[in-house]
Symmetry: C2
Subunit: 233 residues, 2 copies
Amino acid sequence: MKTVDVCLSPDLIHLYDVTDKVVVVVDILRATSCMTAGLASGVKSITPFENLEQCQRMKTEGYLIAGERNGEKVEGFDLGNSPFDYMDEKVKGKKVAVTTTNGTVAIEKSRRSIEVIIGSFLNISSVARYVLAQKQNVLILCAGWKGKVNLEDSLFAGALVDRIIDQFDYETDAPLLARSGYLQMKDDLLGQIKNSSHARRLNRLNVIKDIEYCLTEDVFDVVPKLKDGELVV
Amino acid sequence: MKTVDVCLSPDLIHLYDVTDKVVVVVDILRATSCMTAGLASGVKSITPFENLEQCQRMKTEGYLIAGERNGEKVEGFDLGNSPFDYMDEKVKGKKVAVTTTNGTVAIEKSRRSIEVIIGSFLNISSVARYVLAQKQNVLILCAGWKGKVNLEDSLFAGALVDRIIDQFDYETDAPLLARSGYLQMKDDLLGQIKNSSHARRLNRLNVIKDIEYCLTEDVFDVVPKLKDGELVV
């Protein structure tokens, strides 16, 4: 039986052997929600960069550039980190280069895996079906916040574990912890996440609208994958 | 208002500033349960060592030596890592030197804090009362298993958070995750922990007896503290 595991922070990824695993990268607020929404809405590709300057340079190669640091859009960039930015008409058919505080770091740390796919509540059932069909070991990697565990990514991990656990074994306890947190909070995810550190840090009207959207399940039936350094569907 | 935070693994402790915090070190199976039981039962002091050879050398200075690696008692040591070993008549009044896979590492990483105290279900209410009275920032540091998050330490963290959260603020989400896991599992802690990786790894009769004991709340009214490198009450 294949295994499912959860890595609650990129700062723990050194403890996991990713080479025999499909890695589901999760950064609910808001990188992987943006990637899901964008690629499902006609964005041609999304190329993640850890480094802000490298990302910025892609502008000269015809990319739209998207960047966020500490939850704020980077000055002079084309897109911020709202999923609505990624669904705008002007982004359709375009290539996007993106850098984020946590999400792109998590993707970088997963490159040696069998495959990197992008998870969010927006495509959670598609991701669940995909990993069930792949029959490979699965690692759900939470992007967290600057290395620390965050609630929204952990609850997504728990929700995905809950959907697939019958078909997988687990070697460590993180899937059990994430799943029990999800089961405890699932009837009021929005209320709980609004109470979390991230939401309190970014408690502005447009962010609350983003958060509500990012917690909506199964808006899109896509599974973005990293291919030759680009995310595509 | 003072804050409570939870560090789910010693491999994340670099993200926390411990210098303005009381650190509650937790290694439910079984280091901190042993320390609580032993010190409450008449052990004079317990000195933690990361290094096995350093610990062993204390034998020549009149200490009883206690050691565990990968959940097994070290060959030739006086005590293993069952709390019942620490309550034996032969340990009363004695100094104990101890080394464990995870628990002593967590203690070492907390030394720069205001104070290191020892938490377990066996003394959870005493610990809760103590940190409420101290009115300092609190960090609950889970020893985990070789850097990975484990269930029993996370659930203890959640249980302690649940007892004190009305009097503390929280800066990060780990307390929320741990608490929700605890609330979800608290009516069947033993069943859930038996299902965890640690219990499955050590599924032998004497270990199950230890686990049952280590999940018993409020057997002892003590708060072990680190003073000059020794744990005492």
